[in-house]
């Protein structure tokens, strides 16, 4: 029986790598649950409220986009619009070239992963250095992040020490403090030399034009401290209506992502340096990136645009825990990725149409999502889309259902099949010509066949209903 690609990937994953991903995501999830429910008596109501706010933005993007543009311009920001990944990357390059800049320090952003900005800039002669410690290690390894929040959840400190040694940051030493100190020494120099800083944006407030950034290492703060130009690449769905919405969303984001009450650094940036704010870069650009988002908006999966990239659904997902983020072959892994990646793929949807299959539909992702995205429903819709569009990659391991539908709509045939199934008790497994049956019994025993027994009992027994024992 054909197996799904993610299952094949997971089966070949080295054991220590699986252990790193499993352990890291499990601990993350358990801490999150405790903190969220210890701090808020009705955390689920908060998740629903946050979901309603984000859904409101998604449904009304046409009014919020002009609003955010106006607020940003009023705050002294230069606003750019990018319909595609290429346009977004080119906008960054154009700004760099206009200033004669060649060195960029970058604070982790998922949207720049989406556009493969670092590769693009390097191909165009720009030195682009990632400063989030995990992303930095991924960058010097030529690797890819495997988690939205913990990009190197798949590596242990031994591997990190080897990466540092390979990159000339000192002789092998896997002491976390030594690793951190070496990274700090290396990065500090880069912060001071850079011309331009690039960040993403966790939230963009329509009311005030504030860009909100959260990090735990303070690296985005360092990026902005000495550079003259700040470029923020932000997905158009990252808007919040009002500043006061931040109280709810920041509380939920930190707890859901890392079980913190608040991330160590939370920056509220309203425009570049000015007479009223003497610190920060002289010039600030915001690139509002579409890159397939308006297509998602038009689809029946638009709820995924509520996502605030906390990674809680990855940490709780049993498939992600077994397979790791790289199994998903895309920028966004785990349950959110299984929905978002095929949608953002546009015409290339058939290449990623297997991702929505990577779920037992257990619903844990929906249960933890801080913005209450009904991820299992969206996975189901995309499975149906894959089926209707005949995406071959999605059909591996899915038995054809035509014959079953005939049986299940004709009661006489169904009852006959229920009786006839007894043959499974005597026929050796290898002679049963049903691939799904063989795939099942390869690992599991089937219970004895009892087709017809209940129906016969129901027909022939004497019924003596009791007097009601409970009232209305």
């Amino acid at each position: 029986m054909a197996r799904q690609l993610i299952d094949q990937f997971a089966a070949q994953l080295p054991e220590d790598r699986r252990a790193s991903v499993y352990g890291g995501s499990k601990v993350g999830h358990e801490k999150r649950t405790k903190v969220l429910f210890d701090h808020f008596p009705d955390a689920d109501r908060l998740r629903e409220l946050a979901g309603e706010i984000k859904q409101h933005v998604v449904e009304n993007l046409d009014t919020y986009l002009p609003k955010i543009e106006a607020s940003l311009i009023a705050a002294g920001v230069k606003v750019h619009w990018a319909a595609t990944a290429e346009a977004a990357n080119k906008a960054v390059l154009d700004i760099m070239r206009a200033r004669g800049a060649t060195r960029m320090v970058k604070s982790k952003t998922m949207v720049s992963e989406e556009t493969h900005l670092a590769d693009y800039l390097q191909q165009n002669g720009i030195d682009c250095l990632e400063t989030d410690l995990g992303e930095f290690i991924v960058q010097i390894d030529g690797d890819h992040p495997s988690h939205i929040v913990k990009p190197i959840i798949h590596k242990n400190r031994r591997e990190i020490a080897q990466s540092f040694e390979r990159h000339g940051l000192g002789a092998y030493d896997d002491d976390p403090q030594t690793i951190t100190r070496r990274a700090r020494r290396f990065l500090r120099k880069k912060y001071l030399e850079a011309d331009v800083a690039l960040t993403g944006g966790n939230f963009l407030v329509a009311e005030s034009g504030r860009l909100v950034l959260v990090t735990n290492e303070g690296n985005s703060r360092f990026c902005l401290a000495a550079t003259k130009t700040h470029i923020a690449m932000v997905g158009i769905e990252k808007i919040l209506p009002r500043d006061r919405d931040l109280a709810l969303l920041l509380n939920l984001l930190a707890r859901s992502a890392t079980a913190q009450q608040l991330t160590v650094y939370t920056e509220f940036i309203k425009g570049p340096r000015s007479s009223t704010q003497p610190d920060g870069p002289e010039e600030m650009h915001v690139i509002l990136v579409d890159n397939g988002r308006t297509d998602v908006l038009e689809s029946d999966c638009r709820e995924i645009l509520r996502c605030i990239r906390c990674g809680a659904c990855l940490n709780v997902c049993p498939i992600y825990r077994q397979a790791s983020g790289h199994a998903y072959r895309s920028v966004y892994p785990g349950p959110v990725g299984a929905v978002l990646s095929p949608l953002l793929a546009g015409k290339k949807f058939p290449e990623l149409a297997d991702l929505p299959k990577a779920s037992s539909l257990c619903g844990a992702c929906n249960e933890v999502c801080p913005v209450n995205i009904p991820i299992p429903d969206l996975l189901l819709r995309l499975r149906n889309k894959g089926k209707e569009e005949g995406a071959k990659i999605a059909s591996a391991g899915t038995p054809p259902m035509g014959g079953w539908a005939v049986l299940a709509t004709q009661p006489m045939l169904w009852k006959t099949a229920m009786m006839g199934g007894k043959i499974l008790d005597v026929l050796p497994e290898k002679f049963v010509p049903v691939p799904a049956f063989r795939a099942w019994t390869d690992q599991r025993t089937l219970p004895g066949w009892r087709g017809g027994v209940f129906r016969k009992w129901m027909r022939t027994r004497e019924t003596k209903p009791r007097q009601p024992t409970v009232g209305p």
Binding site: A358, L380, P399, A408, P411, A439, R444, F454, W457, R466
Partner: protein
């Protein structure tokens, strides 16, 4: 899952039983126990003979066209206005959540929704429909209760724990990572055999650590997967539905003829 608009019974009365295809084929005693327990409570249980399957296998696999054919058959078979009782969290969820989702753009969406409003998982029906909060009888066992994923977001899991915990002689054992899925997931278990097996074995490891006498759930599909894995590796575990424990508790106390 929207359970706010479902139709509550005014008390024990006529109900229709949807036995589910798994009970039809493998777990006849679960269906029988459902009938016996409902009748003990004073319900009159009808069994529409034309019933087959809830439509879930094709729905989960993405083949909504074939799934809808089966759902339409089910809607027709369970015509009427009495509660439809299902000894399975996932088939109940198919009726009140899955089927309405795949019929969103269909002209008979309303008929499908109407069936969903009458559909109850049996334990949910007993506790939240009929208002039963404790269970009589006696059953001496240390029980591991597996939270079946399709009952997430419903009142079924807490209802089952409440009834189990109230039976004299029953000890419900907590175990590690209890909120995690067992790895069945319908066709998931055959298209992701490696991950499905790993998930199931991990669950069994946590459960065995507590040395229960039996493993109990409100979904025989999870039990078929976990029980099948355990038996294949030569360490079988007794798997049951909550409703079987309840029926046996009545029998043990002489409240129900054997």
């Amino acid at each position: 899952m929207n359970l706010s608009n479902r139709i509550r019974p005014s008390g024990p009365g006529r109900v229709q039983l949807m036995a589910t295809c798994l009970c039809d084929a493998f777990y006849d005693d679960v269906a029988r126990a459902t009938v016996e327990v409902l009748e003990y409570l004073g319900c009159t249980v009808e069994f529409p003979e034309g019933q087959t399957c809830c439509g879930q296998p094709a729905f989960n696999g993405g083949d909504w066209a074939n799934s809808r054919k089966v759902v339409r058959h089910t809607v027709k078979t369970f015509a009427g206005d009495v509660p439809v009782i299902v000894p399975s969290g996932s088939c109940a969820a198919m009726l009140f959540h899955g089927a309405p989702l795949e019929f969103e753009k269909e002209s008979d969406h309303g008929d499908v929704e109407a069936l969903g409003r009458r559909a109850w998982e049996v334990i949910d029906f007993i506790v939240n429909g009929l208002g039963v909060s404790t269970w009589p009888g006696r059953y001496d066992a240390r029980i591991a209760f597996h939270r079946s994923c399709h009952s997430r977001g419903t009142l079924t899991g807490p209802a089952a724990l409440q009834l189990l915990g109230s039976i004299e002689g029953v000890t419900v054992l907590p175990f590690g990572e209890a909120e995690q899925c067992c790895g069945f997931g319908g066709t998931f278990s055959v298209s992701f055999p490696n991950i499905s097996g790993n998930m199931g074995n991990l669950k069994l490891e946590h459960i065995r650590a507590e040395k229960p006498d039996e493993l109990v759930s409100i979904d025989m599909s999870c039990m078929m997967h976990l029980g099948g894995l355990a038996e294949k590796e030569g360490h079988p575990i007794r798997t049951r539905h909550v409703v079987q424990v309840m029926r046996d508790a009545l029998r043990n106390a002489g409240l129900l003829a054997p």
